[in-house]
Amino acid sequence: MKVSYYPGCSLHGTAKEYDQSVRAVSRALGIELKEVDDWSCCGATSAHSTNFKLSIALPARNLIAAEKNALDVMVPCAACFNRFKTAEHHLKADKALKSEVEEIVGGKYHGGIAIRNPIDIIFKDIGLDTLEGKVTKPLAGLKPVSYYGCLLLRPPEICGFDDYENPVILDKILSTLGADTRPWSYKTDCCGGSLTISRTDIVSKMVSKIMSMAREAGANCVVTACPVCMANLDMRASDNVRLPVFYFTELVALALGLQGPDTWFKLHNVDPRPLMKSLALI
């Protein structure tokens, strides 16, 4: 299959291992990526917190650019995904807003392409059977908890992703890779998001609780699909509760025997290599 690709700002910076692993996994699974031409930032939390119209117009510029490829658009970052879906929702529901935004952005929005996250593409379009057939190195001994966070799921009528209180599709992907995915009740709790810079004290409390609960569930690592969650879980938890954190695509790549995981793991704050070596996974 072929999709448009919107990496978003983080994937060119602090989340570059997410970008590289998404590209590697896509190649291996036969998903051809065509980057959205001259994309710009989605505006994230800062736009919608301070200016509603700006928060619709910024993603609208990218949606209009993506429509030129006439392909569904893959958005790996949960925050960008949420802003795209929210903009789509308002542009489709409010005709007056749509024409105003089209005038601001200088282009027509048609709404003809779907906004997709790679978790959902791998689960629905590639399928677990195909994925299982490509596993060459099962993740035996890895006990991850899936951490979905907020922005893939809520609000459910906009995101349309998975069960919003107990999502399971990432759990199923990880189990297909041979991991012993642990059930837990903190998969959709908030990590504090962008407060991480301005109120680090609050975010530390939030992620330390999430990490403690992951440990209580018997996990030896946490898996996410969001650069903000990754940054917070990997850097803000108290020393005594830390665990390695992975982008889910890093683990898909590892199980598929692809090149890259060694280099990506070096980029994490909590070094996952001792755990992976002890399990003979690297």
């Binding site: 710009s40 509603f52 200088g106 907020c150 301005s198």
Partner: protein, 175 residues
């Protein structure tokens, strides 16, 4: 003249917040309630009572992280997350100083960085924030570590048609 409640409802442009029957489910699920001086349910009640200044001067409206748990669980579909956005915007528009100054300064730095490059360049955005907030030294060690790992590049690609991005900011600017 519109009441505070009417103004907020107009800005939310959805289910009127007086549909709230104060079951406090929003507050029970709010992951930030522990850090707020007025919990989300209390803010709804205060809006109904017209306590405009206390609401717009509160830390709560800035501490909301927009996780959307409240609106997802509200039995009456009151969009509390959108309400918090609306209240922040009303505070900005009417010149009420943000109680959580650094949270607003972060948003301002973030948006000004988009205006400059079209995309966020994390190191320059952090410098902008540090200069604005005066919080110069926190996270320095982590920043250096990330720089050494090649995660903080000053030369990350920018949007070529910067004019189009600047125009979006210009045309959505609030009076």
């Amino acid at each position: 003249m519109q009441t505070f409640l009417e103004q907020v409802n107009e800005k939310i442009d959805g289910v009127p917040i007086q549909r709230c029957y104060h079951c406090r489910k929003c507050t029970a699920g709010c992951p930030l309630a522990f850090a707020m001086e007025y919990n989300p349910n209390k803010i709804v009640k205060m809006i109904q009572m017209g306590r405009r200044n206390e609401v717009l001067n509160s830390a709560t409206i800035w501490l909301c992280a927009s996780c959307e748990t409240c609106v997802t669980r509200c039995p009456n579909e009151v969009d509390i997350a959108r309400m918090m956005d609306a209240l922040r915007q009303m505070a900005i528009e009417t010149g009420v100083a943000a109680k959580e100054k650094n949270i607003l300064k972060f948003h301002e730095s973030f948006l000004s960085n988009i205006k400059m490059f079209g995309r966020i360049n994390e190191p320059t955005m952090m410098v902008q924030y540090k200069l604005k907030s005066g919080d110069l030294f926190s996270d320095m060690g982590m920043g250096i570590d990330m720089f050494l790992k090649g995660k903080l590049s000053l030369s990350s690609p920018k949007t070529k048609d910067l004019g189009a991005v600047k125009k979006i900011f210009e045309k959505t600017k609030q009076a």
